[in-house]
């Protein structure tokens, strides 16, 4: 046994999940578990109870409206990657979902789990932030710009669950990532999204939390070409530095990935 002991509880609805959470001490929700279980195996997390929300069928859906694609929080990465509706509206999101982890991880991992966990190297937060998505929870709606607050931190309150995320359909969007060769997490990932009102750029993997690259947004709003970001850099000051890449290296890769993301968006 690798993980500490815990009680396993299964919720059949969002209301039941929240009720279980409220009456259970030191509980955590589990959806796909592709981050939480490895974390528990390393004993970096040891909740007293797990509330499984992965069988709430109503959380798994993809709906295309006129101006948005709405995806249920329990939707697996593999299902987003294979969705013709998402492909037609925003192929960049299909690409992103298809490069998360590996096929087996994508069969379990969920949109809501990835976004709620806000791993600094996760892919989905880049799409949510760059597309200016709206996160709908059991209690309210939260704008992407207010959602990601720090390392593994979000605006979600204790017990609050994501029900769905609404992604505005961009004119063009692209995602490019430099994956860690074993874990496939983003060493650096850049999502660019062009809307009528301008371009949004979100960077994941590089810093403790996904962030928008304002200078790149200005350059790309003026001219949406790879060349226009070729000489725009982000400061390495607040970037991650580890065994796999220094802050300076990551800063360099952000520009490279931004160029590739724009090229992908235009193709």
């Amino acid at each position: 046994m690798y993980t500490a002991s815990f009680r396993y509880l299964r919720a059949a609805s969002l209301a039941e999940a929240e009720a279980l959470f409220m009456k259970t001490a030191d509980a955590r929700y589990i959806a796909g578990g592709q981050t939480l279980i490895p974390t528990m195996k390393q004993r970096l997390a040891a909740p007293a109870a797990l509330i499984d929300v992965s069988r709430i069928a109503a959380l798994s859906f993809i709906r295309r409206d006129r101006e948005t694609v709405v995806i249920g929080s329990g939707t697996r990465h593999a299902d987003v990657a294979a969705s013709p509706d998402v492909r037609a509206a925003m192929p960049a999101l299909v690409h992103l979902a298809g490069v998360i982890g590996d096929p087996a991880v994508r069969h379990k991992g969920t949109l809501g789990g990835s976004v709620a966990n806000n791993d600094p190297a996760a892919d989905y937060p880049a799409a949510v932030l760059a597309l200016g998505a709206t996160v709908r929870t059991t209690r309210r709606t939260i704008k992407a710009d207010e959602f990601f607050t720090g390392l593994f931190q979000t605006a979600l309150a204790d017990g609050e669950l994501i029900s769905e995320i609404a992604f505005p359909i961009p004119r063009h969007a692209g995602y490019a990532k430099f994956p860690h060769p074993a874990s496939r997490y983003a060493l650096v990932g850049v999502f660019v999204a062009q809307f009528e009102g301008g371009v949004r750029v979100a960077v994941t993997g590089a810093a403790p939390c996904v962030f928008r690259a304002a200078e790149m947004e200005r350059a790309l709003s003026a001219s949406f070409t790879p060349d226009s970001v070729a000489r725009v850099t982000v400061s390495p000051d607040a970037l991650n530095s580890d065994l796999f890449g220094s802050a300076e290296y990551r800063a360099h890769v952000v520009t490279v990935m931004a160029k590739r993301a724009v090229a992908a968006a235009r193709s």
Partner: protein, 153 residues
């Protein structure tokens, strides 16, 4: 403790396990289905891949209790009685294994891949194998075997 009931390789299975039992340990230690291997134990190597509800998953990264009521297939359950699954036969024919440790996971991943890609090209096979590591680095013949299995089907 959790009371589990599920189907494993076509047979109904019931057991009492601790909630924290990983599926791979349930298969290996409780059911003695030791064809499913524990390699890296960190969700990266794919030696533990099995099918749950018809989809490939890493059995080291799911608790047995989460699979309650599901249909599980392991490497022991893919072949017809006394024979080999076409993917197993292709691995044998094309020498798609050296030490063999990664092979059960490779085959379970390959079978899953071929359900989604009828005639995968080399690039697709390599991309689909991203979650399976072969420390003998025998990838060339693994890719060849999967291509052969695809064209044989």
């Amino acid at each position: 403790m959790a009371q589990l009931s599920m189907t494993v390789n076509g047979a109904a299975v019931r057991a009492d396990v601790e909630d924290r039992t990983l599926l791979v340990h349930f298969l290996r230690d409780h059911l003695r289905l030791t064809g499913t291997h524990v390699g890296c134990d960190t969700s990266q190597c794919g030696a533990c891949v099995v099918h749950v509800g018809g989809r490939a998953v890493k059995s080291c990264t799911i608790f047995a209790v989460q699979v309650d009521g599901e249909d599980v297939v392991t490497i022991e359950g893919v072949a017809p009685q006394g024979g080999l699954h076409p993917v197993q036969a292709a691995f044998q024919e094309h020498h798609g294994l050296q030490c063999g440790f990664c092979t059960p996971g490779m085959i379970m991943t390959a079978i899953d891949m071929l359900k989604r890609h009828k005639r995968p090209d080399e690039a697709t096979i390599k991309r689909e194998l991203e979650g399976n590591l072969c420390r003998c680095t025998g990838y060339l013949n693994i890719v060849k075997a999967i291509q052969a299995a695809a064209s044989a089907s």
